[in-house]
Symmetry: C2
Amino acid sequence: MPLAQSAKSRGIRVYHLNIGDPDIETPPVMLDILKRWKTSPIGYGLSQGEPEFIDALQLYYRSIGFGFLHTDNIQVTVGGSEAIFMAMFGVGQPGDEIVVFEPFYTNYNSYAAISGIRLVPIRTHIRDGFHIPDTRTIEKSITKKTRAILYCSPNNPTGTVYTQKEVEQLVGIAQKHGLFLLSDEVYREFTYDGKKHVSLLSYMRDIPEQAIVLDSMSKRYSLCGARLGALLSLNSQIMEGVLRIGQGRLSAGVVDQAMAAQLIRLKPSYYASIRREYEKRRDLLYSGLSAIPGVVIPKPEGAFYTIVGLPISDAEDFCRFLLTDFHDRGETVMLAPAAGFYASKGSGANEVRIAYVLNCEKLTRCIEILRKALKQYQRKHS
Amino acid sequence: MPLAQSAKSRGIRVYHLNIGDPDIETPPVMLDILKRWKTSPIGYGLSQGEPEFIDALQLYYRSIGFGFLHTDNIQVTVGGSEAIFMAMFGVGQPGDEIVVFEPFYTNYNSYAAISGIRLVPIRTHIRDGFHIPDTRTIEKSITKKTRAILYCSPNNPTGTVYTQKEVEQLVGIAQKHGLFLLSDEVYREFTYDGKKHVSLLSYMRDIPEQAIVLDSMSKRYSLCGARLGALLSLNSQIMEGVLRIGQGRLSAGVVDQAMAAQLIRLKPSYYASIRREYEKRRDLLYSGLSAIPGVVIPKPEGAFYTIVGLPISDAEDFCRFLLTDFHDRGETVMLAPAAGFYASKGSGANEVRIAYVLNCEKLTRCIEILRKALKQYQRKHS
């Protein structure tokens, strides 16, 4: 970040492909609530969440086929981040272990550290499109201290969408070993090529005590700065536990919740249109990067990220180079070195994560910049 | 809470004196920001806080005499709650101890539990107006594991305002024993009878590595539901540590921060007017409750709470009685049993905490209800 600031201060335009902060507008019906705001004072909300917002969430889950969720099964969280925190804190004690598939969302580390929980990474590979290994391989990482398996689909940072078979495999392992299964479904709507997202909600009634779903309003409604998410479970003990954590921080933001509650006024066409837009970007990025010699890019199946293998040895150095030593007509791009998404040291050294959160015109320019930068970097290092 | 819900469902009006949710309006200049909201999408803010809001906070602290605070010394938090969490997590490891004066704000317990820190309570007494004991008594609670002393002035739940001598006493103890000193100053503006608040900020440059101030926008600007606070320190290691926690949750709410940043447009008369209003309520409550036979009430010096000794043996039972077995012309009051604010078992059994967050008309009615309820409860139990 300081390097990006420094580049900007030298007058260089930096395209941010390093963070999943979408450029698509927040639905106007949500912003309209602000214009009509009357309530004063802005008092505490309820710790579980504002009833109006919880009802809206319940309607949303019903609309996607999960009408069995009651308001008791929904805890509103301060962003998807707090859902991760509550889930980890809810299922484990300090010293316990949670199995995750690496590369994984970096902030899992933050909340594991805070909860005193050890994340046990199971490696997935770019050559397999980052799909999960067979059951026997996964079981090797399960110990007496394992409390849960945490997975994310559509995946940040890889863009992989787990198949029905994979989700059922994880449900089976959770059943067999008596583990919690935590499903991060923040990118639920973002699947491409007609691929349908398989939610853990489809299996929640099969493992009612074990299934926990983590959700967020940030990506779906371009509400990253509104800090709202949700944790879903049929396990009443878990719901009581997370509510106690919620009581400690009193409530989530009430203005934000009033905005997000307007999701009930969105039509299915809203979701279809954002999906179409991101699919267009995915197509552009995929074909553009595939055409660069030496670049390895599995076709992203969902979310708005992809991990890309570059024809260089040190992606972190290349990312630094982009900000400090390179520009093309006064412009450059910022990428996230993929090593930060791996727990195992040395993994992903030649990979970067790209978030395709810019429009097609800008993305086209980013690909061009990247192509030139790679060429110049390779010349310099050969 | 379920008891209050049940009373309401029986058609009974419940006056809430149990929670510090002020009824005074949020400053209109803050709400006006909502009406003029243009930014879309609502993207992530910076993890330290939005520059506009941090600048506003810096101006505010300068206006109350603490111009030495730079933007680097200010971390925006998601409510005062997160400031407590960050402070505890920042100063201690699991197993460490923090000394607190009981009765104390209940949520200190929540974050101590999350951080694995043991709170070591030092008893203060209603007969002393809940002022702190002498240095020797405090030192008895300091062990090798003690990392910090945490205090709150003006105090929730007691309404006590620590004198200059008391604050200097705590600074001295922190110096002598090399401890962090955490000052919860959420109610800074709420002091009565011309009493001036003595902030730890006045001593921050004397113990730059040890002083940490916790703050909140909730009470001062009636923004409880906006979830914004701040943590202040000159210790750069602490500021780096709390920023890392802040990065885990990405950002605080950006709409809320835009609202609160308007604090720069408030005149000193704003603070004077809320102080006057709460002082009027304090006077009314103090004289009204003092007139009830057997009630012990130290004159509250600040904040908008008071701990009241009742002429009964079980305040928890009385609070329940108010919601389940009593009403006066269809109305009752909800109080917080004080036992919840003590860590030492059995303490405060006959005490309640009253938050005077209702206007004088309602408070007058509450006192009348309380007088009648006490009479009826005593008759029933004699």
